[in-house]
Amino acid sequence: MWALLGFGQATGLRDNDMRHALIVQLARLGDLLQTLPAITAIKSADPSLTLDLLCPMPLSPIGRMLPGITRVLEWDGLAWRQHGQDAGAGLHLEHLRDAERRISELSSERYDWAYVLNQHPRALLAGALLAREVKGPRLRGPLGEQLAPWASYVRDVAATRRRCRVHLADAFCGLCGVYPPGKPVTLSRSPRPLPPDLELIGKQGGPWIGLIVGAGANERLVPTEVWQWWVRQFMEAVPAGRVVLVGQERERARYIQDQLPSSILGRLWDATGRTSLPELAEILGRCHTVIGADTGPLHLAAAVGARVIGWYFARARVHETGPYGTDHLVWQAHEVRDGVVSGQSGVQPSSWPIQETIDAVLTGRMQGLEGWSVWVSQCDRWGAYYSEAGGHPAPPREREDLWRELQPLQGG
């Protein structure tokens, strides 16, 4: 136990030979799931290492499903926000004592080191408070300006949106100083009961399609009319087909159902807005294919072993954040000007790959349409990559070059 603010030196170092490390991932669901390869690679490199995870409190149930994680520390962002605002309204010593108490409640002992995977200062500070050493995006502590090579790469890609081929999940591996595991990794999941009306999901008929109706940002929402049309077309084409609507947006799900003929509603399940994250994982895991534009649940679907079809537009980019694994498909929207396809993102589509994705589900045939290209996921020793459907399947060479440039000392 380290000394509570008196202040004195923090003395709570672990006293045995076991090495303890902490992964700090305070971003959203998709980022947490994309941490999975890094966790696997770290544990693979040092099986005796005890590895804990610090993640946002609402995501902790998923954190507990990550293989290789011993303990999950829950970061209560709302409480910290209130605490920060109270301290901002009039700083007292008690605010620091309370903050120290919160940190010590997370862990009574300091970790040997922390892998910090976010560039936000609070993640770096949390890592610095909980561990003796921080391996993360900044080279000289939380206030240092100089970025680690992989952090610099990620920031550069995010800022310039330039074409890239290293997946964010693999860049996380780089930030942690390890190489990608070279294979897809799934969550540790044991079958979980669902509410009675959802229990039939995945058990009768099929194929079962999970449809993610919402998105984390308005610009990434697929119009409900498009989903209605997708469901209608799919149900007509596959008499035994089943669709499960998932996500948080109940209103959108209702709207989709309101417009559908009653004859197909018996094959439609609405699970929106009423499932916990582990229940959502269970539902997605029972589906044959999961389709949507919301990258967080898409990553969850991939992590529970479902085949994923993503519609990527607005800011979503297949090469950086496509579902991790093999045989996932992504339709990526492009801006086409004067017949030339732009590599820039921020595209809002005017047409949608409805029939194309139904064909892919039913026949495996992959075809693009104007404004969209189709990509298939693969995985090799340099991590996940996407190659264009119908194109040359060879892995892109630039990934290997980048790994050798950014992580030369451990080059394999």
């Binding site: 010593l93 120290e100 502590g141 206030l143």
Partner: protein, 605 residues
């Protein structure tokens, strides 16, 4: 049973003077009555002081409600004595070591209480405050701790006037001791008479050492006027109203980007009720100085519930009206002058010729002025009339200057300084003197600050502000010519009176004084927020002393000048400036972590 002597036994040791005073007091103010549950209760002037059913239960509920407000380190001051059930209940729930004081305006009531029922040991732990209002204020302020006033209304109503006086003295005492730096956002009007006052307020607050964000809506005057150019009145009103709403939102945007300790609006500031309610939800403190006659401009009725604090230039009926409309707190804050603007001038001969006269009047052509001023024209003295809105006042046309154009502040000062007698006639809608003559207009203070002699119509609130030796006033219109004649013949007397008025302004009636009083009033009601800042509790020196048990944190604070207000963001900025390239201390990491959450913009817009 002789409860009195038993109760006094303890008091004789802890507060012998009070014990003696109680013994000598007559008592008999309260009428004792048995409550339904059998304990003694009391009535006075036909009203119950404590519950007729269960005084203890009622007192317990009251005490628990007060406890939620009572912060650590504050001295609780109870107004209202009664049979002390509420004090006993508060003493029972208070945190160990916290101090409780009770104001005793009338020892006879305390005698009634001590005679009525047995008190416990808690009685001897109470600090009793008695004497005149200034004496009581001095005792309370000498605690050098934050005061949290709790009013037990059924008993306090018996001494409302003494309590008001005590609060005023407390306000003055606290005002004198102000040493901290606040961040005040001053929200001004788009145009009008309150615009210069908003500017004086900004200057005064800055001069007092506070940081001011001046949200100046006069920048938008041209657009506002443009929206007023539509032919149809409904269009004009709709567009100007919508425009005011936009300005209200722009105010909120400004506040969210640089959150102040206090939002101080000056009359006519374009803040809507919806925006004010939103600000309250986000825990912004708001105050309005309504420098208008509440009987003429009545928009306050729609906004009364919106502000946390109202300050008005009228008393009694005005306060009641505001409270009926939903205002939570209404205080009296008269007008003032800014000695940097309203000042004696040395004029050239040419200026004296242009601006000077035996008798002058500066102001707009309100109905009562149109009727009364012609009566005071005479061949025995020269008269100059300055200002606008005098169209159609044929009698006054020969004396109207600059064809009735509006004159600026600097020209006003020249007129005041150059005139032998300045008439100061408060405006009203009738044809005579203002029948509800209560508030004192800004002109009174401005003329006085210039060292200019004035003749003003009597106001109910004037005697508290100026004596008859400082400002000459008239109560009947027919007395004015004789007064003019008398004072024109007495230049030396005019100088004496005018100088006395100027000195009074400099002592008591500047905008600096007003802002100190306003902040002190809010500080008294917000001892843990505004009060703490004003006392200097947030200054680096005070914070460092309180943080001595944490040497590293204390050292961080001592890097700032002792008298400088220091907040989380300042400490964090200092760490960022000095922490690059070295391992940060644990306390520094915690400060930066808290600050990263503080810095999240309040989602106001």
């Amino acid at each position: 049973m002789d409860y009195l002597n038993h109760n006094l036994e303890g008091l004789r040791h802890t507060c012998p003077a009070l014990a003696a005073a109680v013994k000598d007091a007559s008592g008999g103010v309260l009428m004792l009555k048995e409550s339904r549950e059998g304990s003694v209760s009391a009535m006075c002037e036909g009203q119950w002081i404590h519950s007729a059913y269960d005084p203890r239960k009622e007192a317990k509920a009251w005490a628990e409600a007060q406890l939620r407000e009572w912060q650590a380190g504050e001295v609780a001051v109870v107004l209202g004595v009664g049979l002390l059930y509420h004090v006993e209940a508060l003493a029972a729930v208070k945190a160990a070591g916290s101090r409780l004081a009770v104001v005793i305006p009338d020892v006879s009531i305390l005698k009634d209480a001590l005679r009525a029922r047995p008190m416990g040991a808690w009685l001897n732990a109470v600090e009793w405050i008695l004497g005149t209002a200034p004496e009581m204020a001095e005792q309370l302020v000498s605690h050098s701790a934050a005061l949290r006033v709790f009013t037990y209304a059924p008993a306090a109503r018996l001494h409302a006037e003494i309590h008001r006086e005590l609060e005023e003295w407390l306000r003055r005492s606290v005002a004198k001791q102000q040493g901290g730096q606040l961040h005040v956002a001053v929200v001004g009007p788009i145009y009008g008479g309150s615009l210069p006052i908003a500017k004086y307020v900004v200057t005064a607050l800055e001069t007092l050492g506070h940081r001011v964000s001046w949200i100046d809506h006069s920048l938008h005057r041209a657009s506002y006027d443009a929206f007023g150019a539509y032919r149809d009145m409904r269009h004009r009103q709709a567009m100007q109203s919508r425009f005011a709403e936009v300005l209200s939102l722009s105010t909120i945007t400004h506040l969210s980007e640089d959150p102040p300790d206090l939002v101080l609006a000056i009359a006519q500031a374009p803040l809507t009720l919806a925006v004010l309610e939103h600000l309250r939800k986000k825990k912004f403190l708001t105050a309005m100085w309504f420098v208008e006659n509440y009987r003429h401009l009545t928009y306050w009725q729609q906004l009364a519930a919106g502000y946390d604090y109202w300050f008005v230039i009228q008393q009694a009926e005005c306060h009641e009206a505001f409270k009926r409309a939903g205002a939570r707190s209404v205080g009296y804050l008269p007008m003032a002058a800014d000695p940097a603007v309203h000042r004696p001038l040395t004029l050239t001969d040419a200026e004296r010729t242009e601006y000077g006269a035996d008798l002058s009047f500066v102001g707009a052509g309100y109905p009562n002025r149109r009727v009364l001023l012609p009566r005071w024209l005479s061949k025995d003295w020269s008269f100059k009339l300055w200002g606008n809105e005098w169209e159609g006042a044929a009698d006054l046309a020969p004396v109207l200057q600059r064809s009735g154009a509006r004159i600026d502040t600097e020209a006003c000062m020249k007129v005041f300084n150059a005139s032998a007698i300045n008439l100061n006639l408060h405006s009203c809608g009738g044809e005579a003197l203002d029948p509800q003559a209560d508030f004192v207009n800004p002109r009174t203070f401005e003329l006085a600050a210039c060292g200019a002699f004035q003749l003003t119509d009597e106001r109910a609130l004037l005697p508290d502000l100026f004596t008859e030796e400082e400002i000459v006033r008239f109560r009947r219109t027919e007395d004015v010519p004789a007064l003019i004649r008398m004072w024109l013949d007495d230049p030396s007397g005019r100088r004496t009176v005018a100088e006395a008025a100027r000195q009074r302004v400099l002592r008591q009636h500047t905008y600096g004084h007003r802002m100190k009083e306003l902040l002190a009033a809010i500080g008294l009601r917000q001892p843990d927020r505004i009060g703490a800042i004003l006392r200097g509790d947030r200054n680096a020196g005070a914070l460092a002393v309180r943080a001595e048990s944490a040497p590293e944190f204390s050292a961080m604070l001592r890097r700032f000048p002792l008298g400088q207000r220091v907040e989380l963001k300042d400490v964090a900025a200092d760490i960022r400036a000095n922490g690059v390239g070295r391992a940060l201390e644990r306390e520094e990491l915690l400060i930066l972590l808290l600050d990263s959450y503080r810095a999240e913009t309040r989602d106001l817009v």
